[in-house]
């Protein structure tokens, strides 16, 4: 009797473990994404604080990989292109990292002046990482005398897979109809299939406390209502800190300095 029970227990544990492993593989995908607060309310922010810092790369910086330009040399091959999945500047500063507040529930409104644009120039997306507020329209520019196709990948939450040709004659294309995300999500991948090396990322976000690091690895989040927050980051090659976000406390009118050291994601 006892052994039977033990066997049953073992079976149950095994099943549970199986489920756990199974669930884990789903979670892994989520680990590469941003984390969003459940709800967000826009309020007037008085005496907001500031969070700023520098993101640096830790470890041996891989050699810059030159991209092979396989077509449209006259447009795409004017200058050398490099793989931009990891852009490390002098002093190991890391560009294109998203730094953001994970759990903010109220704060300022989006900057209405902010340009929501990605340019296609010399067969390269600029910027590589673009923040787009949920419900807002992204505009694609084409500065090239070449035909591109704007391919924004579809996701589970948003049926926003966009794949639209943008010919050399169309300098500007607003993705009003098909490209507007209803839900916060991302970052999602953007590519041009015609020029297979072109890559960018779009994050659809529910609040304005998102920053992307510049060439100097710097980021700034301004007008943060006083309080305790979880500070998160995302980088396409270095991953996220979703498991251990940094806790910061912002005082009224105060400034918090928080730097990050990022390592390459472990190869799966």
């Amino acid at each position: 009797m006892k052994t039977k029970m033990l066997a049953c227990l073992a079976l149950l544990i095994a099943c549970g473990f199986g489920l756990f492993v199974f669930a884990d593989s789903h979670e892994e995908e989520e680990m590469d994404k941003l984390v969003f607060s459940e709800a967000y309310k826009t309020v007037a922010v008085k005496d907001g604080g500031k969070i700023s810092g520098v993101v640096k790369f830790e470890g041996e910086v891989p050699e810059k990989k030159k991209l092979e330009i396989t077509k449209d040399q006259a447009v795409c091959g004017v200058t050398d292109k490099f793989d931009e999945s990891l852009v490390v500047g002098e002093g190991n500063v890391l560009k294109n990292t998203i730094v953001y507040l994970m759990d903010i529930s109220q704060g300022k409104d989006f900057d209405k002046e902010a340009k929501l644009e990605i340019d296609q120039k010399e067969c390269r997306f600029d910027p590589r990482v673009q923040i787009v507020p949920v419900g807002k329209v992204l505009t694609m520019l084409n500065s090239d005398k070449a035909t591109h196709n704007v391919h924004i990948f579809g996701t589970k939450k948003n049926n926003t897979s966009v794949n639209k040709q943008q010919t050399k004659n169309r300098k500007k294309m607003r993705l009003s109809r098909e490209g507007v995300a209803k839900n916060a999500e991302g970052p999602v991948e953007v590519k041009c299939d015609i020029h297979g090396w072109m890559r960018a990322w779009i994050a659809y976000v529910p609040h304005p406390y998102f920053a992307v690091t510049n060439e100097k690895g710097e980021f700034t989040l301004e007008d943060v209502p006083p309080g305790d927050y979880k500070l998160g980051y995302w980088h396409e090659a270095c991953g996220t800190n979703n498991k251990e976000p940094v806790k910061v406390t912002v005082a009224a009118g105060g400034e918090v300095k928080q730097d990050f050291m990022l390592k390459l994601k472990e190869a799966k």
């Binding site: 396989t70 939450k157 897979s161 040709q165 500007k172 294309m173 009003s176 015609i194």
Partner: protein, 565 residues
């Protein structure tokens, strides 16, 4: 007050539900039956949870669809829209030619297919959240197929930049073809438009039209937009003409600027329309431009239609058997126009899935063959489509390792006597050996003779005979010309004589598709014959017989007449 609110709420709710009802889809409510059918017939490839990860998925390319993202390739709906229930039903019913998705018309009843439609929709939340039916592609303004329309479409094919992926002649060999992937990161190849029997969503002109208006979701195929929106076909032609000029005169520059402005204006209106901010006047410009775009798109669809035979050609058996034509002259060289006078014989090829490593996802559809012979020699012209020209082994971090393209033409060493005599095993022989002509893309003008007694048991012949060969690759197609003497001194060679049916078979390798060694495409045995020389006696006997019968008739008539008088 309160009761009024409740009534109001009830009314609104009622209205909402009516609204929901008016958006009636065709599929029934989700049922246990749908789940059951799905798990029995679909889950092996598409996975229990619809993630496209069933046990058989690993070996398939294109990969079975992952239903959890709501991305469906073949739709009657606009870009970014979900498919209609009917779209899903049709795909299940008809399958997807050129992929591993079979049609289920004969193996699943109509009701079962509808139940499955309802069930696969549960894998993606977006279906439930739809408030309005998906916007369908309008087929209004269809332009009937004509030579004229095809001619216009041909120009548009370049303007719309189709060639970037599909290649200049539509063989799927565009310069962007090697790097294409789908949204799951799997390799995907642009369609070879000259083989419409492999179009996933059917080859009606309407089907073709829907594919480029709606795009193929999840793949590299985008939704197409007018490359010269707001301009007529004539104007866009002129615009491109001027655009490609190194230098323009003043009047030309003025003309160019005018067209450019007209187009820029129309594009801006396109954005305004999408935002709902256009004025009446702008709406009119938009309507005119859209009509013109539809006209262009139909011409383009007609052109694409013209690129392929309606049906897959019949295989080279029976009346289509490969007949080498006798000529009294020298055999034509590769570039000779004489080849144009012959019909091709079509040899379909399939993935080799008997011996490891196997090819489950072949990319070479077939090889076409023509042949001439004279009293001493025979010449063949082999053509086959391959999207990429690979002449060596290349390692690439992103696209993986690619190999060299090649073909091998297989004959028995000894021609079996009579149709019932045993042939060697079709896969490069066995107990009975085969004689092979091997050709590789790196040495385009060379044939190597092999003898094989099995797919992994081939030997280069010690004595290499005098075989002339010339190979070339243009616009996604290989052409290989081979000439050899009918008889040779080598016992290991095939010896040919007229009027004897000789078994022939093929192996081909598309290096970019990972073909190497046993991983390749193959055919089973077919046969060819040196068509017997028409005898000169045909000019003597038939007239003689005719004359005799005529004489006999005349005699008979005389005989009857005389007897009657």
């Amino acid at each position: 007050m309160r009761s009024r609110n409740i009534v109001l709420a009830a009314l609104i709710l009622g209205l909402l539900s009516v609204f929901n009802l008016t958006f009636a889809q065709d599929a029934p409510e989700v049922s246990e039956k749908g789940k059951e059918v799905y798990e029995e017939s679909c889950a092996h490839c598409h996975g229990i949870e619809g993630r496209g990860d069933g046990s058989a998925a690993e070996n398939l390319l294109p990969q079975p669809r992952d239903f959890t993202r709501g991305l469906y390739k073949i739709r009657s709906t606009e870009s970014g829209q979900l498919p209609t229930d009917q779209d899903l039903f049709d795909i299940i019913t008809e399958g997807m030619p050129g992929s591993s998705m079979p049609g289920w018309e004969t193996s699943l009843g109509t009701n079962d297919r509808w139940e499955v439609v309802a069930y696969i929709k549960t894998f993606y939340e977006g279906f439930k959240e739809q408030e309005t039916p998906p916007r369908q592609i309008s087929l209004e303004g269809k332009i009937p197929y004509s030579e004229e329309s095809v001619e216009i479409g041909k120009i548009l094919y370049t303007q719309f930049a189709c060639f970037e992926c599909h290649g200049n002649l539509g063989r799927g060999d565009g310069t962007s073809a090697p790097t294409l992937e789908d949204e799951w990161g799997f390799k995907s190849w642009p369609a070879n438009l000259t083989q419409s029997w492999n179009y996933r969503g059917g080859n009606d002109i309407d089907d073709i039209y829907k594919r480029f208006i709606g795009g193929i979701a999840g793949s590299a195929m985008p939704m197409f937009e007018d490359p010269a929106f707001g301009l007529t076909i004539e104007e866009s032609k002129r615009y491109n003409e001027l655009d490609s000029k190194a230098e323009m005169t003043e009047t030309e520059e003025e003309e160019y600027n005018q067209l450019d402005e007209k187009m820029g204006n129309a594009y801006e209106i396109l954005d305004l329309m999408a935002d709902g901010d256009a004025t009446e006047e702008q709406k009119q410009i938009y309507d005119t431009a859209m009509k013109e775009f539809n006209v262009k798109s139909w011409h383009l669809a007609n052109y694409v239609k013209s690129l392929s035979p309606e049906k897959r050609p019949e295989a080279a058996i029976g009346k289509n058997v490969l007949r080498s034509q006798y000529t009294i002259n020298e055999l034509p060289e590769m570039a000779d126009a004489a080849w144009e006078t012959l019909e091709s014989s079509y040899f379909p090829l399939v993935g080799q899935i008997i011996v490891e490593p196997r090819q489950f996802n072949p990319t070479i559809d077939s090889v076409n063959v023509k042949s001439f012979y004279n009293d001493t020699e025979v010449a063949f012209l082999f053509t086959w489509d391959d999207r990429t020209h690979n002449t060596e082994v290349e390692e690439d971090e992103d696209t993986g390792t690619t190999f060299e393209d090649a073909i091998a033409i297989q004959f028995p060493v000894k021609v079996p006597k009579g149709p019932t005599a045993p042939k060697p095993y079709f896969l490069w022989g066995g107990k009975l050996p085969v004689y092979l002509w091997q050709w590789k893309a790196s040495a385009a003008d060379k044939i190597t003779e092999l003898t094989a007694k099995g797919i992994n048991n081939a030997e280069v012949q010690e004595v290499q005979g005098n075989i002339e060969a010339k190979g070339e690759y243009t616009d996604g197609q290989y052409r290989l010309w081979v000439k050899r003497a009918l008889k040779t001194d080598d016992k290991k060679d095939l010896q040919l004589e007229p009027a004897v049916f000789v078994p022939i078979a093929f192996s081909a390798w598309d290096g970019a598709n990972g073909d190497v060694g046993t991983k390749r495409v193959i055919s089973s045995w077919y046969s060819f014959v040196l068509e017997p020389v028409p005898s000169s006696r045909r000019f003597i006997y038939p007239p003689l017989v005719a004359l005799l019968s005529f004489g006999l008739l005349v005699g008979l008539r005389e005989f009857v007449r005389q007897r009657n008088t």
